[in-house]
Amino acid sequence: MDALSTSIIDLRDVVAVYNGYPALAGASLSVEKGEIVLFQGPNGAGKSTLLRLCAGLLPVERGTAFVLGCNVQDERERIRSRVGLLGHNNGLYADLSIADNISFWASMVGASQIEIDAAMSRMGIDGSLASRSVGNLSAGQKRRCALACLIVRRAELWLLDEPHAGLDAKGRDEIDAILREASQLGATIVVASHEIERAQHLATRNVAVVAGRVQERS
């Protein structure tokens, strides 16, 4: 890790642009290891953009962005395997079953069958559900599958874009418990959510994102 900064995420005046539109207009943020940070803010503020940028999916137009001690602009290949992102999309293969999707990711990162089973049972996916095609599932079931894939990936930095969306009450509690546990094991977690009451219980720090900039809070 870079000696310059021990923060997991360190953004300084970051500008990110989509076809000339400044989705991020000088965002600065630093997140330390083990924190659970909540992004909140109005629609179109730039929460998803911030998360995608930290995941290395977006180019940095101006400013500097360090994630896990590496510059997201130049050294992305070094950080990637250590970052897990759950975006608005689920990133699943609709023609495969839940079990196939999860074991695809497991063989990517070399996770064992035990870890697969653990992830599935954590997300409440039982045997008969696991063998069904993802394309045939309800919205919440898909989201659960995406979360199980993410758990199997064992990232150091979890970036979650509205993880509660689509989950039922039980699923929401489950994912909260999983995130707390992961953070206790040393993972750093950033959550963007509009369900402020729920997410606030989870988060150790609140960050307001407004019009492409970060405004710290309590």
Binding site: S81, L96, M108, A111
Partner: protein
């Protein structure tokens, strides 16, 4: 924390995934194959002149393969982009060379299956005579040409997959690149079939061209695929 898997392993996992999706959905076997057969028959019908047909028999197989290639490549990337799976792979730091090789391998297997059946059809329809030496030539030609098609398809498919909603660009990009492959493969196949007074030995230089093409695009793809699927 997580171990970085090597290229070969990623390639194997990705290829296995693509082939398993094909096993589940049967797109190539149930939809692309009949389409390709139909293209062949239709052209044979349009050129319902015996001389011409005899001469172009081999070419028709390649023509049908060409048009099927567009469909298969598009499908291969529709899987990845419809729910953002490609993004997930990129974020997870999955080796892009591994993805390239894996997707190429899956494409190769699907195309080879297709061609095999088309050639059987062609042999039956046009009653081509095939000597042993001709068979060797034909098999080498098919392997080289298909490898080239699979590499180009994976490369340009990746290029258009990055730009959302612009899959219609794929045929335009692929056609001029792939057309020489199809022409060379046609010449080699004609030599193998000895059709229209072709000589067997004339086929091998064309196979050489195909091999060079496959090598070029294989290497080009390995080197540049990562840059293409980056945002």
């Amino acid at each position: 924390m997580s171990t970085s898997p090597n290229i070969a392993r990623v390639a194997r996992v990705v290829a296995a995934k693509d082939l398993r999706i094909e096993m589940r959905s049967h797109i190539v076997v149930q939809q692309v194959l009949p389409f390709a057969g139909l293209v062949m028959v239709m052209f044979a019908f349009a050129l319902d002149n015996d001389d011409v047909l005899q001469r172009v028999a081999g070419g028709l197989v390649w023509l049908a393969t060409l048009f099927s290639l567009f469909i298969v490549v598009q499908r291969s990337y529709a899987i990845e982009t419809s729910d953002g799976a490609l993004d997930a792979l990129r974020v997870a730091g999955v080796d892009s060379q591994g993805i390239f090789l894996g997707k190429s391998a899956a494409l190769f297997v699907q195309l080879i299956t297709l061609e095999l059946l088309l050639f059987v059809l062609a042999v039956v329809l046009y009653q081509v005579q095939l000597s042993l030496a001709g068979l060797v030539l034909l098999v080498t030609c098919v392997l080289c040409a298909t490898a080239g098609l699979a590499f180009v398809g994976t490369l340009y498919g990746g290029l258009t997959a990055g730009a959302h909603g612009r899959e219609t660009l794929l045929p335009l990009l692929l056609l001029p690149v792939v057309a020489p492959v199809v022409l060379s493969a046609t010449r080699a196949t004609e030599s193998a079939f000895l059709s229209g007074g072709a000589v067997l030995a004339d086929g091998w230089p064309w196979v050489g061209v195909l091999a060079v093409f496959a090598a070029l695009f294989g290497i080009g793809g390995l080197l540049s695929f990562g840059a293409l699927i980056e945002e």
